[in-house]
């Protein structure tokens, strides 16, 4: 229902009066007990409500106004206007029945649309909707027609009945179809079609009872029933086709026995059958006479077949009386008849070569293989018998031949040649050829030829005398080949013959293409296309610019594999079928051999991948083993000047000191990544034994950490993260810090004018050192050069691989008063801790060659610096470099400002 007209609409109509009246009206309507739903009240309604109308009929609707609206709204039926959708209905169709009722009439409902609304022109202008209805227009259902049913067998015991009908015209309405069926005293449940309106399947059916079936179509405009169909479901059965069909050969070579199983028991239905059969490879079916298979059975012997021929059979069945439907044809089954003796002798001819000597002939006997239906089996051999007619006393010569020709050396004379073909069952009738001593020309005249379609017709005028048969000889005249004589026999009554060859060549295609081989397939030519007996197929293939290769294939084959092809090459192949009477080539087919053979790609890719993985693995292992070296190269330690608090440089020249070590001495050049800051300290005592305690700890640690690498800091012995020694912060000194601690700086004296503050500062910088900082040249001159330059901050880069990883250490003799044993221990720890095992030899060498400094310049991270180191060559504050790391940085290296 389309409902509108609310009280507020009424308010708008009252607007000209006053708002007080409007409000009063609203209150009245809202509070009115008659108001539907209690809140709104319609000012009218339309009857009929939501009608369903027949298309083309007439229709009248009434709009009835409420009395209340008349009183307060001052609206009357005369003000009503009707609309279809938004289109005004002409006023000619209105009729004012009384002051509250207006009607509208449509002579043809096809002009109707939905909604149909009743509206009021309030105050003569303002259009307000009062009520609306939906109008449905359609057609009553037509009587369903052409009801037909078929019972489908689904299994041995299961049948369903499918009925179809013509539902008639489209009704534009929701129309329900029901398929109904009943017995005299029983009506069965309806079958309601799903998604369709013209068919339904009943699953509960009963044979041998007359069943009434009909269709009911129902919609809002009516109901229609089809004519009833009265049928016994057994009379409309479409049975399942016979199953398990088997074919077996019989005793005779011309019969085959069929056996099958019926899906329907005889008690339910007696059956009759159709049996069809064809020679495999042919398309035309033959059928067993229906009267021979008109009764229920499960086997049948098909007679009159060709020996040694493969037949395909198919069976169908239906109710014996012919009422109902045929089943589908069963699956085809094939069977082969047994062999019989050849039915005729092979056609034979001869070619006599007298070129060597007229007295001695070379006789080529030629015969044609029997056609399959003549051979009746596999021809195992031919027996050729030669009788010398000129000399009856001469012995008969016999030859057993498996090919279709035989060459003899005969003396000039008259001979009778007899040819017999043999298969496993027997021999053919003999073919006889007389070879006269002197050959005269055939008495035929007017020999002529005429191309006719794909054949060459040869005609002649027959002689007057009786002719048993003619032999036509011909050859292909070609510059590229010799005249190879072919021949054909025609019966004596004819005066012309077609020299036939195949009408088309086989269409070849590839079944599989590899790198060096391609499997070709083709279909046999039909009998009509063969125009004879296919002697062989010839495959001709070539590359675009190569020579054509010819392969002869047995005519029984339909597949051949070309081998020794070139990979990734385009080949063109065609195929020629040859009969005795000619050849015909089929269409060209091109294919491209593959670039890679089967498994070749895998054979290449897999080893490459494995090799790559191996290389990666080795690389990773190498990097892992050499991680210190790599780290040093790509992530060297860079002091961060921004965090330094060095107050004063101590340009102490670290001389090459002898370092008393228990076991080892270290050349300065072997030191790497040493950062030494020698700072003049006011208080020498501040460097106490307590400060060196960590070394003790490290010494102890050595016993367990030997051979370990020390991470980032560990690559630089002097900036090792292992140890920090400080006057002020003992706790820090004992920490085994992480690699992020690159070095530490201790400021004991004031830098320049600054007040010296004894500070131990640890840099957290991970900024990499520049290559130049680690160049071996830096310390190539050993301690001498650095000493002369009074370098007090040194980084030693490895000069070579051997030295690169070597621990480096430098001492200053000023601190010899310290616990030397501890220091040595510490040095040892550093060495052993820094070095990889392969470096052990180098270490020993260095130990012997290098003079060990007795000046301790601790190269541990958290560097410990002794103020005593400034004794020898202390630089004044003014002489000290202005930058933090000026001396050891070269070549655009890091120059912190």
């Amino acid at each position: 229902m389309y409902l509108s007209l609310f009280t507020e609409i009424m308010c708008s109509m009252f607007s000209r009066w006053n708002w007080v009246a409007c409000g009063f009206y609203l209150v009245l309507n809202i509070c009115s007990p008659d108001a539907s739903g209690g809140l709104v009240q319609s000012c009218g309604h339309i009857i009929p409500e939501s009608p369903v109308l027949a298309l083309g009929s007439n229709f009248t609707a009434l709009c009835i106004l409420n009395e209340s609206c008349l009183d307060f709204g001052n609206i009357y039926a005369s003000q009503i206007i009707w609309k279809i959708k938004n289109k005004l209905v002409p006023k000619e169709q209105y009729r004012e029945i009384n002051r509250t009722v207006s009607s509208v009439t449509f002579n043809d409902t096809s002009s109707l649309a939905t909604p149909l609304t009743c509206n009021i022109l309030a105050d003569g202008q303002i259009e307000q909707n009062i009520y609306g209805i939906t109008v449905t227009v359609g057609l009553a259902p037509e009587k369903p027609k052409n009801l037909s049913c078929i019972v489908h067998q689904e299994s041995v015991l299961t049948y369903v009945m499918n009925c179809t009908w013509n539902p008639g015209r489209h009704t534009f309405l929701d129309t329900q179809f029901r398929l109904r069926h009943s017995w005299p005293e029983e009506i069965f449940p309806d079958c309601i079609p799903k998604d369709v309106n013209n068919s339904c399947t009943i699953t509960d059916i009963q044979f041998f009872v007359n069943t009434e079936i009909w269709v009911e179509a129902t919609n809002a405009l009516g109901k229609a029933e089809s004519d009833p169909l009265v049928v016994d479901p057994i009379d409309i059965v479409k049975p399942l086709s016979p199953q398990n069909v088997s074919v077996s050969s019989g005793v005779l070579p011309t019969v085959l026995q069929l056996c099958w199983v019926n899906w329907i028991s005889d008690a339910v239905m007696m059956l009759k059958f159709n049996i069809r059969y064809r020679i495999v490879g042919e398309t035309n079916w033959m059928e067993v006479p229906s009267e021979d298979t008109a009764s229920t059975r499960t086997s049948f012997i098909v007679q009159g077949l060709r020996p040694y021929t493969e037949y395909a059979f198919s069976i169908r069945c239906m109710k014996e009386d012919g009422v109902g439907y045929w089943s589908d044809w069963s699956e085809e089954k094939t069977g082969m008849t047994t062999e019989a003796q050849p039915s005729k002798g092979p056609p034979i001819w001869r070619i006599i070569d007298t070129s060597h000597s007229p007295a001695f002939w070379t006789v080529h006997l030629l015969w044609k293989a029997l056609k399959p239906f003549e051979a009746n089996g596999v021809i195992l051999q031919y027996e050729v018998t030669i009788r010398d007619k000129s000399s009856p006393s001469s012995p008969v010569k016999k030859y057993n031949v498996t090919s279709t020709n035989h060459t003899l050396q005969l003396r000039e004379g008259t001979y009778e040649v007899t040819l017999v073909a043999r298969n496993s069952v027997g021999s053919s009738p003999p073919s006889v050829l007389l070879i006269p001593a002197s050959n005269s020309k055939a008495p035929v005249k007017n020999l002529r030829t005429l191309p006719k379609h794909d054949k060459l017709w040869v005609g002649w005028t027959a002689p007057n005398s009786y002719v048993l048969k003619y032999v036509i000889e011909w050859c292909l005249v070609s510059s590229s080949s010799d005249c190879i004589i072919e021949w054909q026999i025609a019966l004596g009554g004819v005066q012309g013959v077609d020299l036939k060859g195949p009408s088309k060549g086989p269409t070849v295609q590839t079944k599989k293409v590899g790198k060096a081989e391609a499997v070709l397939t083709w279909n046999h030519l039909t009998v009509e296309e063969q125009n004879g007996f296919i002697r062989n197929y010839t495959i001709l293939y070539k590359t675009i610019d190569g020579n054509e290769t010819v392969v002869t294939v047995d005519p029984s084959k339909t597949e051949y594999t070309l081998s020794s092809l070139t990979s990734d090459t385009l080949y063109t192949v065609r195929m020629m079928a040859s009969t005795d009477n000619g050849s015909r080539t089929g269409p060209d087919f091109t294919f491209t051999t593959q670039k890679f053979g089967k498994g070749e790609i895998e054979a290449i890719v897999v080893p490459v991948c494995l090799a790559f993985l191996l290389i990666v693995l080795l690389g990773v292992l190498f990097c892992f083993n050499k991680r210190d070296l790599i780290k040093k190269h790509i992530w060297p330690i860079v002091p961060d000047p921004s965090k330094s608090n060095i107050a004063q440089w101590s340009p102490q020249v670290p001389a090459k000191h002898n370092f008393s070590s228990k076991d080892q001495t270290y050349p300065e050049g072997s030191f790497t990544d040493v950062s030494v800051v020698e700072i003049e300290a006011d208080d020498k005592k501040s460097f106490s034994e307590q400060d060196l305690k960590p070394f003790d700890l490290l010494k102890k640690e050595k016993s367990t950490s030997e051979g370990h690498s020390s991470g980032i800091g560990g690559s630089s012995c002097m900036s090792s993260p292992r140890q920090s020694v400080s006057d002020s912060d003992e706790g820090d000194t004992t920490q085994n810090t992480s690699s992020t601690v690159q070095y530490s700086t201790v400021v004991l004296n004031g830098y320049r004018d600054q007040t010296p503050v004894q500070v131990f500062s640890r840099s957290e910088s991970t900024q990499p050192l520049l290559d130049s900082e680690e160049r071996s040249e830096d310390h190539a001159g050993g301690a001498d050069s650095t000493a002369q330059r009074q370098q007090y901050f040194r980084q030693n880069g490895g000069q070579d691989e051997t030295n690169t990883d070597r621990p480096c250490f430098e001492r200053t003799k000023q601190i010899t008063h310290a616990n030397e044993g501890d220091l040595v221990g510490f040095v040892q720890l550093q060495i052993s801790g820094q070095s990889s095992q392969p470096l052990g030899l180098g270490m020993e060498k260095n130990t012997q060659e290098a003079a060990v400094s007795n000046v301790l310049q601790t190269c541990t991270e958290g560097q410990t610096v002794r103020p005593e180191t400034v004794e020898e060559n202390p630089l004044s504050v003014d002489e000290m470099p202005k930058s933090y790391l000026p001396q050891t940085v070269r070549q655009g290296g890091y120059m912190p400002q």
């Binding site: 005299p184 029983e186 009963q206 041998f208 009833p228």
Partner: protein, 211 residues
């Protein structure tokens, strides 16, 4: 043929159901039309013969399958357990020389009883052997065939003899009995059914053959 709900088919007003044994007694009426007149055609006689033949052809298989599905001791001692001596089964005292009408009435009584009994057996087997699909399918089909047979006999009795009411007695209900008793009752009924249906087929054949 698909499943049909088991049970007794309502025979409208044609049959008067009674609980006591009553000899076949045809009530003769004349003048009133037979129900479903349009369906009561000449082929009903042949249809009836085919139905009896079908039941006869399948009865032994049904009985054997029933025994097999009940397990021991039914499969081994069927002679003893399935002896139908103690149960009610409609008398079928007609022969080939009996009056055709008498044969038809006896047939009606027999198949009305069988239809009800087969419905009960089917119901019991659905409960006792729900997985014995083939047995259930054969029971359904046999019940359905007897249902169609009753419809055809109704037509023949009404059309040929104006008989539209036959007193029929049904067997005892198996409801509430033990599983063994249900199996035994079904076994007894089916065994008797095999015997009687063969006789019915022989008797009915000359009466229903096209004359």
């Amino acid at each position: 043929m698909k499943f049909v709900p088991a049970g007794v088919v309502p025979f409208v007003a044609l049959l008067l159901l009674q609980r006591r044994p009553v000899a076949g007694r045809a009530l003769l009426l004349s003048g009133s039309g037979c129900p479903g007149h349009g369906l009561c055609r000449s082929n009903v006689q042949e249809q009836t013969r085919r139905q009896v033949a079908l039941l006869n052809a399948t009865a032994q298989e049904l009985f054997s399958l029933y025994l097999k599905c009940q397990g021991e001791p039914f499969s081994s001692e069927s002679d003893k357990l399935c002896n139908p001596a103690g149960i009610f089964f409609p008398a079928f005292r007609v022969n080939r020389t009996s009056e055709r009408k008498e044969v038809m009435v006896a047939m009606y009584k027999l198949f009305a009883f069988l239809n009800a009994s087969l419905g009960n057996i089917t119901r019991d087997q659905e409960e006792l052997n729900p997985m014995a699909k083939e047995l259930l399918e054969r029971l359904h089909n046999t019940t359905k065939t007897t249902r169609g047979l009753i419809s055809n006999l109704t037509c023949l009795l009404c059309k040929n003899y104006n008989i539209f009411q036959v007193d029929v007695r049904y067997g005892d209900s198996s409801k509430g009995k033990s599983a063994f008793k249900k199996k035994q009752q079904g076994c007894q009924v089916l065994r008797k059914y095999v015997q009687v249906i063969g006789l019915a087929a022989r008797v009915l054949l000359p009466h229903l053959s096209p004359s």
